[in-house]
């Protein structure tokens, strides 16, 4: 029953809605413009719908039910106050094309969150238009391209370490660049010499994640900036891991020219099963003229307005004003935390990750031993001997009631298990997780088949993913 599709609940004559009776004459269009009823659309009651989705929800795990240690995803507590504030009718019912004078509240809010991000980034301006990290990446690289083009040569390449997230090269390519991959060194970071050698005249920028996807901070970051700047290139920082150093250090102070922040990570806006998000981008002075238009400005008289007058702007990267109501949630969170709270986030997030690292290092192989910040990446090296692999360990964790970590990423670690607990987690929860991981390591020794055949207790067990891709069934048919 639970797994029936809503379409399979459909029964002739059922109804899930009511509208007021039509109070004007019913109008028609020429028949050729009007369709018949949407064939095969559902006929269900409100009861059917609520039952269906309530049951579906029970097939998901959630951050409110327990640790959700997806590395790089920063699955932290999503405060309910943010949801309440975002639903304030004055925000929820405001319209994106209203004249500035009618939406002074919204504009003030945008102005304040930009100021707050400017301070967090240590950068002079921030665009709030991008609605996700990848969208911010594209926006950032487009600005770099425009700036270089303006100074005569847009250049050809973006340098990206082999540890980077897939969106980095994808975004760079969409912005019109080719990618040159940088090999990581034994610490998992970028060697200053490797970089120096790679930064040729036709390199537009280095796109680097700080700390990187191993959670390791690029200690040479300032020197990276110097090398790039000397060659007229830019330093782009993927800020997905900002949670590890917010309030402790500022990208702008590291010589970073562009950074995006995933507000759905560091700033607690809920992931919603995949989105929405927001990916504001902060830029250094050199790039300010190229920010997407419009920008939010404050006039002498204290009123706010959208400024469309930026001749060098790359243009708008989305209709309307970005994911405004995600920004509302994020600003609510920033205010709830305050300066000390934001710093505390980084401190406890890093403490929690290193606690897990300390407790699990005996049981799992640590491919890169460099000190890590908010996340720790193990591998399945110790388990492969028994022919148990990362995927098996991940699935087995489900039987212990935990969502698995991110797996097989970063690509520079074979069989990666990428664990990010965030600052939200209480010690008891971390201990329960570590106990489970250690128990599984033991199972790998003693009962490998048990782990290989996991999960055993989930609503569905291991799926035939090959079949899904080989003979794609991407929609229901009657």
């Amino acid at each position: 029953m639970t797994t029936q599709l809503i379409f399979e609940h459909s029964k002739r004559g059922r109804r899930g809605y009511r509208l007021p009776a039509l109070d004007v004459p019913s109008a028609e269009l020429t028949p050729s413009l009007m369709r018949d009823e949407v064939a095969d659309e559902v006929e269900v009651s409100e009861v059917d719908v609520i039952r269906h989705f309530t049951r579906l929800s029970k097939l998901n795990v959630s951050i409110d039910a327990g640790l959700y240690p997806l590395g790089s995803c920063t699955m932290k507590h999503n405060p309910r106050l943010n949801e309440e504030i975002a639903r304030t009718p004055g925000f929820a019912l405001s319209h994106p094309l209203q004249p500035d004078r009618q939406v002074q509240g919204n504009l003030a809010l945008l102005w304040h969150i930009e100021r707050t991000l400017m301070e967090i980034f240590g950068l002079p301006r921030v665009t709030l238009q991008p609605v996700a990290g990848a969208h911010g990446e594209l926006t950032g690289i487009l600005m770099v391209h425009k700036a270089l083009a303006k100074s005569g040569n847009a250049r050809k390449y973006i340098l990206i370490p082999d540890s980077a997230h897939g969106t980095n090269p994808a975004s760079a390519a969409f912005a019109g660049y080719q990618i040159k991959e940088l090999k990581s060194n034994s610490r998992g970071t970028v060697d200053i010499d490797t970089l120096a050698a790679a930064v040729t005249e036709d390199v537009a920028a280095l796109m680097i994640t700080v700390p990187n996807t191993l959670g390791v901070f690029e200690t040479d970051i300032k020197r990276f900036a110097d090398i790039l700047h000397d060659k007229g290139a830019y330093l782009y920082c993927d800020g997905a891991n900002l949670n590890s150093f917010v309030g402790i250090a500022r990208p702008g102070d590291m010589g970073i020219d562009v950074i995006h922040s995933n507000l759905h990570k560091t700033f607690s806006t809920p992931h919603g099963g995949g989105g929405p998000g927001a990916g504001p981008v902060g830029v250094s002075e050199k790039l300010v003229p190229f920010l997407p238009t419009p920008t939010v400005e404050q006039a002498e008289d204290g009123t706010y307005y959208l400024d469309h007058g930026h001749p060098d702007s790359i243009g708008r990267v989305r209709a309307f004003n970005g994911n405004f109501n995600v920004l509302v949630r994020a600003l609510t969170y920033m205010r709830s935390m305050g300066p000390d709270g934001l710093r505390r986030i980084a401190q406890i997030a890093v403490l929690n990750a290193n606690y897990i690292r300390a407790r699990l290092r005996g049981s799992y192989h640590l491919p890169y031993d460099a000190p890590s910040l908010h996340e720790v990446v193990f591998s399945d090296k110790l388990q492969t001997a028994k022919d148990v692999h990362t995927l098996d360990i991940a699935k087995r964790l489900m039987d212990y009631g935990f969502h698995p970590p991110t797996i097989y990423f970063p690509l520079i670690v074979a069989g990666a298990l990428m664990i990010e607990p965030t600052e939200s987690e209480p010690k008891e929860e971390l201990d329960a997780f570590c106990d489970a991981m250690i128990a599984i390591a033991k199972e790998c020794e003693e009962r490998p088949e048990l782990v290989r055949s996991a999960p055993h207790t989930t609503p569905v067990r291991r799926l035939d993913e090959a079949r899904a891709a080989r003979q794609p069934v991407l929609r229901w048919r009657k």
């Binding site: 369709r35 609520i50 795990v61 997806l70 897939g166 150093f245 250090a249 989305r318 995600v326 000190p371």
Partner: protein, 464 residues
Amino acid sequence: MTLPDPLTDQHRYISNASQDVSEMLEVIGIDSIDALFETIPDDVKLKELLNIPGPWSEIESRRWFRALAAKNLTAVDHVSFLGGGAYLHYQPACIDQLLLRAEFLTSYTPYQPEVSQGTLQSIFEYQTHQCLLTGLDVANASLYDGSTGLCEAVLLAERVVRNRKKVVIAKSVHPQYTETVRTYLQNLGYEIVEVGWTSDGRIDTAALREACTSDVFAVAVQSPNFLGVIEDYDAVAQIADAAGAVKIAVIAEATSLGILTPPGAHGFDIVVGEGQAWGVPTQYGGPFVGFMVVKDALKRHMPGRLVGETVDVDGKRAYVLTLATREQHIRRGKATSNICTNEALIALAANMYLSLMGKEGLREVGQQCLSKAAYLRAELQKIGSVILPFSGPVYNEFVVRTPFPADEILADLEHQKILGGIPLGQFYEGYDNEFLVAVTELHTREHLDQLVAALTASISRERR
């Protein structure tokens, strides 16, 4: 920098307090949290706290944010006729309360299908609704919004056709969508050709025929278009086909799919659009949800996530993210798109909305919008000096012209507690006296009559 004693100001969102911290430091074998940050060079470390407000209690946050919200003039206490790509439709009460269930609200992209079937099955259902509504074969899990959706559609078309350099976009496609496409394409060496409209507000087919040269890889039209006029899909398709261009239909008012013949029925290859009208609040423009549906032949070029049906080891039906080789995490620089986080929660809301309204409701919404727009048009035309400049068929939105600047008229309506429409001058040269008016099933006849009376008053005021 040392951690202030948590007891002095422990934070409610951070569980671990001083006792936990010391227990954990001991296990790690260090004596301060600072030791964990040694890899960050001192010269980039902040010497003081960030200069930002807070920490605020919920009480203080409620005061401040509510005061801001109260500064906005909105449909809360005005009758609103604003549309232009963001529409205020009926929002069923159960949807928002279901969305607040943590299992939907706080979960991540369903990478681990065994513990994410709720999200996965819902996306599969959402994809199905999109196919049924548009008359095409394969829908994805969502894109950021309609404007970025159009960008993805154009790039998809180019991947399919290859070696052509031009895309034709109707001038009556949402201007901010086209602006966004311009931004996306700026470094890729493609040219955007815009084609205007004729007196009926439909695309100028003669000009379109001219524009559709052999190096055009795609033609994009919106229907109902930004002027509210319903395009002649067949006429457009014919011309595009002659040029061997991919046919892209843009939908900015999703409820129109409940009553207007869908692009799929006219042989369009790609339908891309904005799903906000399916009961999502206008919330100043986001989050919204972009949808894309394509012919089966194009599915491996599809941007974004796709959910497919399969079985588990016990043969039980189940759902999973599939055809991932298109995506950035596998293809990296060669992916069909850079999108990762999408608008899943809004797509879930849309699935709920479409399921509640169902076969009958989707049609009734369309019928009511159509009828109320027709009634309002008729009433407006009774006002001397009000002109409806475009003669083409409309759904729930249309252009109104008065002898006076739209900005002045709308400002006057605002004083009468009416948000009367969107001035067209900001989008099109020489349209300073025109504005866009949208109605939905939420408007009562009284609301419509109110606008007519108010506009009459505004005009006579202007005359003085």
